[in-house]
Symmetry: C2
Subunit: 217 residues, 2 copies
Amino acid sequence: MNISDVERDALYKVIYARRDVRREFLDKPIADDVLARILSAGHHAPSVGFMQPWDFILVTEQATKQAIKQGFDLANAESAAQFSEDKRAAYQNIKLEGIVESPLGICVTCDRQRNGPVVIGRTIKPEMDLYSTVCAIQNMWLAARAENIGLGWVSIIHDQVLRDTLAIPDHIDIIGYLCLGYVSKFKSKPELEEFGWLPRENLERLIHKEKWSVKND
Amino acid sequence: MNISDVERDALYKVIYARRDVRREFLDKPIADDVLARILSAGHHAPSVGFMQPWDFILVTEQATKQAIKQGFDLANAESAAQFSEDKRAAYQNIKLEGIVESPLGICVTCDRQRNGPVVIGRTIKPEMDLYSTVCAIQNMWLAARAENIGLGWVSIIHDQVLRDTLAIPDHIDIIGYLCLGYVSKFKSKPELEEFGWLPRENLERLIHKEKWSVKND
């Protein structure tokens, strides 16, 4: 099947317009057919040995979101303490999640026992099943953006909070907790770039020819 | 920026048409501008704390590819021994890489020290930088497909072989070795599904409402 130049450019548009969204969520539900398309995009990610190790837990209840938000708050206070004093105030001013404001949370997990125990392609690099699940998340992230839905990945929370709150069995790995919803706008640049936390790296300096090369400033 | 329905459908077309490619590579080089678009798509993946921890090592030299292929062969023999006897013959018949036939290899790595040591969003879940790099690979995979270029992820190789062959420093993590090239065709289904190694999971059974639910057959 051939992809046309117009279709190719649409992919690039979505890739460049995708943001990690933590604010500007609207109180507008995501229709079932839209959500089904986003989940199906995740389910059609590549997976090692066609293992498809992912599961998706959909969260809409306020009490559940509040429990997860509380877990974030505790983990975020711990995190702030890790930053040097000169960066701490700036860190504490950044909004890093939209757990309660977003209409839908999705916890994406990895069942490392699925279709095992010996999985093609995981024999030498055991983390490949975790990486497959991340590919599913990236597909969902792009699909959400293509549906004009914002998605934010909340990583500042202990897995145990999600495990307890969502009754996730011990043998299931937690990869990410995602917040989804329509938004009033998408920023033109990543927020951390926009307000000067870090600049965009120069891609040319990240490309090496034939072997690793040390690049001096 | 709004994404139109036509653009959304183009994304889905690329997601569904993407394959893990190990054969059918053509002896046709990838033009510099096409490669630049694929790498830029990777570079515009989400990254934890805007860390952008990735590097891309481009491999075109035959001697290098041969060394990597040799590493694959050894790891693949090790891997075959892990399968039960009834599956081993089937496993050994599957072509799992196109290292030498594909015109371009790209080793994608993760520099966990970049923009650190304390990275926003990595404070509680340290593997987030590895996951960011996987998001870059998935962007590249989709970009390659949108350029009608096949991409295969070779995971059956010890990191040390890639490290030695490509002179990758010890502090850099190796995430994936990718083989890219134009192909005579893309399969309509994943190869492991097509020949009956494993079926496509039923997505409905992977979706849980509000909490994890045990689904019985």
